[in-house]
Symmetry: C2
Subunit: 144 residues, 2 copies
């Protein structure tokens, strides 16, 4: 009746691939800075997009707001990130990297670049681009 193959099931494969690559990649920032995946993401967004508000980060990174809140607190405590109250909206806070945060961010992206190159080598340029496109597609229009 149902010739359901687990090995063809996309959510399953996606989780495996995500888990596998993330695990390999996270080793660096975890050991070097004791950072969480969420923290890494926030650093990445802040580093490339400048100052953001916590809810901006929620939208862009697809992270829960409580997760963002705690990650931001941790990063602030380590002196990597600074909060500034918004003059316009007293609820919001503008987040930005400190000098030290920028240094760390540089290191993080350097490693990320290297890791990315490794993956591209393994898959080939064409398949990588294809894969990236499909993944973006899959995530799109699903506004959870």
């Amino acid at each position: 009746m149902t010739d359901f193959r687990l090995d063809d099931f996309l959510p399953y494969l996606l989780n495996n691939a995500a888990e596998s690559t993330s695990r390999a990649f996270s080793a660096h920032y975890r050991e070097a800075y004791g950072m969480t995946r969420a923290q890494w993401r926030i650093m990445a967004h802040l580093g490339s997009d400048g100052a953001l508000t916590a809810s901006d980060i929620c939208v862009r990174s697809h992270l829960e707001k409580s997760k963002v809140s705690r990650a931001v607190a941790a990063l602030e405590e380590r002196g990597l990130l600074r909060r500034a109250p918004s003059t316009i909206d007293r609820r919001a806070e503008h987040l930005s990297l400190t000098d030290q945060g920028r240094q760390v961010h540089a290191d993080l992206t350097a490693h990320a670049k290297r890791f990315s190159d490794t993956l591209i080598d393994r898959l080939g340029k064409a398949r990588t681009t294809e894969l990236a496109a499909i993944l973006r597609d899959l995530t799109k229009d699903r506004d959870d």
Copy 2:
């Protein structure tokens, strides 16, 4: 220097896609059976591969052994799964679905099939196959 684009970074995209699809898919088995992703996976493996040992499941599902241990305990308690001591190796236990477990498994795979069809519709048959192949490739040879 580094023109690093977060939006092209595979681990990032993979996590987003995995999270997004899993979140959508997990709704069913979570609401219907209060099941975890790990529990779903174990059900899937046991349902399609027959009797397995806990460490077999670890290997096939890429799950931590403590995670498997707890998930198995939960499934057993709900009467979906049965343990039988191995006669050959007194450390190991053979795990298999109960009748009720098989019923639940049938329902789970039915839903999975339907969900999978939805995804295939969205991506198209060709891209789906391509994607699956690449994902398998990415997970392979990375024996964490």
